[in-house]
Symmetry: C2
């Protein structure tokens, strides 16, 4: 295929391998700069110094195109606030302000818009942030599917920054709770399955949990939220950025029984399914136990688990000890498993 | 029509009367707060004081859904950078950082994406800002029309803030150049008209002009960019917010001859057509002449014109002295004249 014949595939929006190809092959060469090149959940920068004092901020954006727009546990409204709040929290920032831009299809019910906005208001209150600016565009029927919401967020970073570069063999990898809840709730809703009440999106703000983690003064190397592409993709990104392998233990990864059963039924690996209220932390081994205890006492960390550790430098692989005692390499997501999951 | 049967109309995205109804009737009641309620081009706030020093920021967002995505004078790429840069400039801020979130339709040509990104890079360089964070979502063919881009921006405000509340009778109203260029370029392209080279979008960054205006220390009451809804809508918003009437002189409003001719042909009033590189300034009468001279010497202000003045408090109307010597009230845009103009 000639270069000029290339088209965007669903896969380019997966958050996995092809997304990265698009970003590294097309976006960074034109728009790259030291802040963008880091490809974090948000950009972190110091404001120009005024009167000798700078301020460190985090800035992030995400478009939400989730389908269906209402699902067990949330809606595109709560998701669009929590998702951006969480991206700020992953930068170690206290979220302050959000913007919200709507693209709405002509004919969309105003009552549905009201429900979505009400969910945004509730999520904003829960995260203790304010939506301070916005935009609304309407496109003709058929030019967009129902509603898309893009939120951007600003947060302030104080205290010691995380140090991804300080990662070393033996550092522990922690997940704050069960995986795959969000993606499976969306997928099951799409399939019109009758769901037990326990299957529901985990969309929620992580900022309060992160604030507590930072205050503990544990040596946190980095935080990431395993959204699109799931836990497997985030672990691969961490391994790649750090230039070290990561070993995880399948048995230690918390998955709800019902979610696990649905994954089997649908032929989907929960490691690749999106989460919207979970975080992955890499922390110094000496602080892991203390941090886990603290997280378990927080409503957002009740099912926290140490799932593995940083292994040898050199190879950037994610290796999983399976339940039956074998080992397998967990690759980054290739192909779009679950389009429009967030 | 019962409330629950109401649907979103194209008109709700016009930037005019119905847009305001949607915002005031549905968005502000749920999400309102002192910053959002101001409904400016962006939110302006002080960061929490750290070590006794605060920093004043502007924060803004806009979704771009322009159709066609390439047009004389620009593309959705340059528009999405310039538009957000200009919203920051209208807050009196020096734009610093932008985020960029893409929603792309499956099957979109990667070569077109490259052109768009290249336009964004050029626009970013011209405005002297950096795009520091982003997101890419892909939706199935038919779930979005080609590509939508949402940019958000952060800028720093230093020096004396504008004082919209200080507006008083006699203050001059200035437009930085010819109106209706952007909207007419889009519309004529859609109609497949053969265009003279002089018909082209005015999409451009206003930040350097604004910086010069602020440095002049002229008493600027406020700046606004007349995008969706055009000059007429912005003048109405200014009159409404200030609680005073505004008088403008039709003859003083600069419109290119070719643009004016096309407006007549298409049956469109240029006062309601979108601009993407023009600003409206309300300034103290004593400083108007000095400011106009300064603006005329800047590439973005060559056709600057004093188009009217602030009149009596009380009535919030925009009154135009017509070319033939009569007077008419210029209402806010009602109905969607030009969908997907930006």
């Amino acid at each position: 295929m000639k270069k000029k014949d290339k088209v965007i595939l669903m896969d380019h929006g997966s958050g996995g391998y092809r997304s990265e190809q698009l970003i590294r092959g097309h976006i960074l060469p034109a728009l790259g700069n030291p802040l963008l090149d880091r490809l974090g959940d948000g950009a972190v920068f110091d404001l120009p110094v005024i009167d000798g004092h700078g301020t460190r901020l985090a800035f992030t954006t995400d478009s939400y195109v989730v389908d269906p727009i209402f699902f067990p546990g949330g809606s595109i409204g709560s998701l669009s606030v929590n998702g951006t709040v969480n991206d700020l929290a992953m930068c170690g920032a206290k979220p302050l302000y959000l913007s919200s831009a709507f693209i709405i299809e002509e004919g969309f019910p105003v009552s549905d818009l009201d429900l979505i906005i009400s969910d945004m208001a509730k999520a904003a209150e829960r995260a203790n942030i304010k939506i301070v600016t916005g935009d609304t565009k309407v496109v003709a029927k058929g030019a967009a599917d129902k509603i898309f919401i893009t939120t951007s967020g600003i947060g302030v970073i104080s205290g010691t920054p995380f140090c991804g570069q300080c990662m070393e063999p033996g550092d522990k990898i922690i997940i704050s709770g069960t995986i795959a809840d969000h993606g499976i709730a969306i997928l099951a809703t799409r399939a019109n399955m009758e769901l037990p009440a326990s299957i529901s999106s985990d969309t929620a703000p992580l900022c309060h949990l992160v604030e507590k983690m930072i205050k503990s003064r544990a040596e946190i190397r980095l935080l990431r939220d395993p959204t699109r592409g799931g836990l497997a993709t985030i672990l691969n990104e961490i391994a790649e950025n750090a230039g070290t392998s990561i070993r995880v233990d399948e048995e230690a990864i918390p998955v709800r029984k019902e979610v696990s059963a649905l994954c089997s039924l649908l032929g989907i690996d929960p490691l690749y399914v999106a989460n919207e209220g979970k975080l992955v932390a890499v922390v110094a081994a000496k602080d892991a136990e203390k941090l886990v205890a603290l997280m378990r006492n927080h409503e957002m960390g009740q099912n926290v688990s140490v799932i593995g550790e940083v292994s040898q430098p050199g190879l950037s692989k994610v290796i999983m000890k399976t339940r039956i005692g074998g080992e397998r390499i967990i690759p980054m997501l290739t192909g779009e498993q679950l389009p429009r999951i967030c």
